[in-house]
Structures are given as structure tokens and as C-alpha cells.
């Protein structure tokens, strides 16, 4: 109980007769960073919005920080940080005004100036949001998500529109928060982002969790592909196969490659499951 930041069993949500989340189970431990990967429309955002007390659910049992988000009160909300998908608001206010204002909602906020510096907007602090680029505005969203010093941070596709440098900076910030003990639930399209930040990864498709675990657990290590000029073979004993090939060629095997499956392979296999079922 105490080490579960989020515990979800049988979560369901439909918009009209479109099912967004169907019987979803999920556990996030305290202090861990969990990345939720999945194609568009898989139910990632809906799940995040239900867990962060922004949407009611249709069914299932949900405990977030030991409470039911459907009954969220102010105390509960003050323990969460939320970075939702694109918002186009607050355009007439400066970065500093916005971050300072949002800090005012929380009982133990972080220092607004420090947060602005951490998201890399110190030089733009006096600029209106209207004058920022899309990526910079996204960083304001991140600043607003963390300024309340949350125990649990929800990041819904936080780095969409970031350039590579901004993304590295953002990763650095999230790692620092995680190192301080913040629990992070992150949705993303980027496999490298999930791999770089997450302790565990959950793959979601068609409103269900397909698999959850560390990268090593998700990637099936037994399916190693050995290829050479003249053929290829998938095996769980590549060394033996190579020895056999080496004996057959009596020396170097021409064009030999050994490929272990990547997270991408595992991901594509997992989300393709439904189509082949």
C-alpha cells in the first residue's frame, strides 16, 4: 500500500460508444518513473487524465497516492503535478507571472525563479507566452507541472515539439526530480525517451496494457537474429549457431551480423498483437 503510488485494476472509460480504456491494470511504485508507450488513440491520455483526477472513469478500482481520484479534494490535487497535452492559454502573461501565479496555488511550492531556470527559460522570463516558440511554451507547461513540488508528476507527451537539445535538458530535469523521490508517470511516442527516463515501461494498445516491465524484461532476449551471406536465422543460442557456421565455412563467415531485439522490435510486436489475434 505504502509503496504503491498508483494502483489500477479493471479501469474502463468510453466516450459515447467509443471505448478508450478497456479493463486496464497498472501499478506504479513510489519513486519510480514509469513510461506508458502506445500508438495514438491507445488510451494513454485518457488513462492519465483519469488518474490525475481530470476525468471521471466508467468503472474499475483506482488508488492514486492512496486515494480515489474521483473524490479528489484540494489536498489531493496539491500533491500532483500535471503536464497535459497542448494548451493554448495564458498567452498575455509573461513566463515569470505565470509560474509565480501557479506557485501560489500550492502549500509548499518550489522557487519560481529556480523552476524557470531549470526548464531553460531564464532568458525568456520576462517574455509573454505569446512570444514564445511552441517548444518554449511546452517548457512553461512543464514548469507549471513541477512548481507545486509534486509527489507524483504526470507528463502527457511532454517533449512533443522539442528540439534534441531541449529534450536532453528536459530529461535532465526529470531525472533530477526522480532522484529527489518524485514518482513520474510519463506517456510518450518516443522509445528513446522511455528508455532514457523510465525504470519500467508499460505498453498500451486498444485500451489495455499489453506488457509492463523493465526494458530487459520487455525485450525477448532469446530471439537473436544471426545473419550471413546466404541466410539468416532467429535463435536463442547464437553462439552455437555461429560455431556451426564457422565450421561450415572453415574460417570467417561472410557478412556475419548478430542482432539482439531492440525495444522497438518488442514494442511493435506488442502493439501488433491485437491485429494478429
Amino acid at each position: 500500500m505504502n509503496d504503491a503510488a498508483i494502483r489500477v485494476r479493471g479501469l474502463r472509460k468510453a466516450y459515447g460508444n467509443v471505448t478508450a480504456v478497456a479493463d486496464l491494470d497498472l501499478d506504479v511504485h513510489r519513486g519510480e518513473t514509469l513510461a506508458v508507450l502506445g500508438p495514438n488513440g491507445a488510451g494513454k491520455s485518457t488513462t492519465v487524465q483519469i488518474l490525475s483526477a481530470q476525468l471521471p472513469r466508467d468503472g474499475g478500482a483506482v488508488a492514486v497516492l492512496g486515494a480515489d481520484p474521483a473524490k479528489a479534494d484540494r489536498r489531493f490535487r496539491s500533491r500532483l503535478g500535471i503536464v497535459s497535452q497542448t494548451a493554448g492559454d495564458l498567452l498575455e502573461l509573461t513566463v515569470e507571472e505565470v509560474v509565480r501565479h501557479f506557485a501560489g496555488y500550492y502549500p509548499r511550492p518550489r522557487d519560481p525563479g529556480e523552476v524557470i531556470a531549470e526548464v531553460g527559460l531564464a532568458a525568456q522570463a520576462k517574455r509573454k507566452l505569446r512570444q514564445l516558440s511552441g517548444g518554449q511554451r511546452r517548457r512553461v507547461d512543464v514548469a507549471l507541472g513541477v512548481v507545486g513540488n509534486p509527489e507524483l508528476l504526470f507528463l502527457d507527451e511532454p517533449t512533443t515539439g522539442f528540439d534534441p537539445e531541449a529534450r536532453r535538458q528536459f530529461w535532465h530535469l526529470i531525472r533530477a526530480l526522480a532522484a529527489e523521490g518524485t514518482t513520474v508517470l510519463l506517456t510518450t511516442h518516443y522509445l528513446d525517451e522511455a528508455e532514457a527516463l523510465a525504470d519500467r515501461i508499460a505498453v498500451i494498445a486498444d485500451g489495455r496494457i499489453r506488457a509492463a516491465g523493465t526494458v530487459a524484461e520487455l525485450v525477448d532476449d532469446r530471439e537473436v537474429t544471426v545473419a550471413w551471406e546466404g541466410g539468416s536465422k532467429t535463435t536463442d543460442t547464437p553462439t552455437a549457431l555461429i560455431a556451426e557456421l564457422g565450421a561450415g565455412y572453415a574460417g570467417e563467415v561472410p557478412g556475419l551480423t548478430v542482432t539482439r531485439p531492440s525495444l522497438e522490435d518488442a514494442y511493435l510486436r506488442l502493439i501488433g498483437q491485437e491485429a494478429s489475434a
Binding site: Y15, S84, A87, G88, D89, E92, L93, Y105, K128
Partner: protein
Amino acid sequence: MTAPNALSLGVARGGVELKQFFRERGSVVFTFAFPAVLLLLLGSIFDQGPIAGTTVTGGQVLTASFAAGGIVSTSFVNLGSSLAVERDDGTLKRLRALPMPPVSFFLGKIVLVVVASLAELALLLVIGVLTFDVALPSDPVAWLTMAWLFALGITACSLLGIAASSLARSARSAGAMTTLPYTVLLFISGVYVPLQELPDWMARIGALFPVKWLAQGFRAALLPDHMAAGEPAGQWELGKTAVVLALWCAGGLVLCLTTFRWRSALTR
């Protein structure tokens, strides 16, 4: 450390609302300056000496009536259009997720409407005084009348604006949902055109809505008593005005409570 209280958060919201309102050129020009520009135009057109049988000019009558129209703009039009935009652009969704009691959000809107409406009223009265020789009342009773008209008027119109914002499907249609009824009401409520010059049926329809009563009330406060003869009932009807505005406040509140949404289809 304790959580910030609802009142101080409401005041903070009010500050942010005012900054956003007065920095947004669209809202300043459209909601705030529009009534003033129209008053200058219409007042100058109809300011050809005293109206027959009275000591009052057309510009002075228009100033009093526009005082009502102006605060309808800064309450009804302002909230109706801004809330629809905020529902679409994610503002409301973001705010709803904060540890903020909803009452603080509405307190902030009240601060916005009260300050913007006071500024609007002051602007229109200054235009009246400088351009059309409007004499501000010396009688405290007239100021008291303006005070309760102001309070009841912006309350009713704000609530109706919030309700109208929910009728709009999107921010794009919000302009139409507020501007069209606003403009029509100003025509049929004796603001742009004196009530005596309206067809009877039109004046009757206008009398169902709060703007007619608000405008009549401001004329009562700002014009000499003999002008009451020009009103449909031949008198100012302040008691009836208070009742009608209070009823619209009650009706508006019910509409708000039953229609207000934090999200639009776009921000689900």
C-alpha cells in the same frame, strides 16, 4: 504550511484575469472601447440641442443609456466570449486540475467584471461630461441608485454571460452567441434608439430583458426628474426595475448551475 485560502486565491485570480483582459487587444477594443466609440458617434449625431419640451440633449440621454449598455458589454459579452475561449483553449481544464476551489475561479471572474465594469462606467461618464455636458448628480440618492443598479445589473448579466458561453459549441461561435443578443437588446431596450420611437411590439419584447430596465434606471439616476415623462410608463419604475433585475439574477444563476462545464468537446 497550509494551503492558500480560497479568498486570497480568488484575489490572485482576479489580478491575472485583469492582466489578461487589458493586455488582450481584442477584448479591450471590442468589449471595452466599442461602447465608448458608439456613444461618441451616436451622441454627436443626435446632440442637436435640447429635446423638444425638455432641458436635456440627445447626447445626455444616450450617455445615461450607454452607461447601462457599457456594463452589459463588460459583464455579459466579456464573460460569455472569454469563457467559451477558455473552455476551448484548455484554460479551464488546466485550472480545474489545480488545487483551487472553484469558488476562487469565480471570485477572480467577479473581480474582473467589477473592475472592468467600473472602468467602463467611468469612461462613459467622462465622455458624457466632457462631450455632452452631462452633469453628474449631486444627490447621494442618485449615486446610491446607480450603485445598486450596477450591482444587480452586472450580476444578472455575468450569470447570463456564463450561461451563454455554455450554449456556444466552440470559441468561434461564442462571439455570435453573445454579440448578436447584445446588439439586438441594445436596439430594443432603448439604448441606441429611444423607447418611444420603437414599434410597440418591439418595446414589449425588450421589456422582458434586463437591459431595458438597467438603461431606464441609469436614466433615472443621471437625468432630471421631468424626463420620466418620456419613459413608457411615464415614470422611472425603480422598484419594478429592482424586481426584474433580481429575477434575472435568480434565473441566470439557475442557468449557470445547470449548464456550466469546465471542458469542451475539444479539450476532453
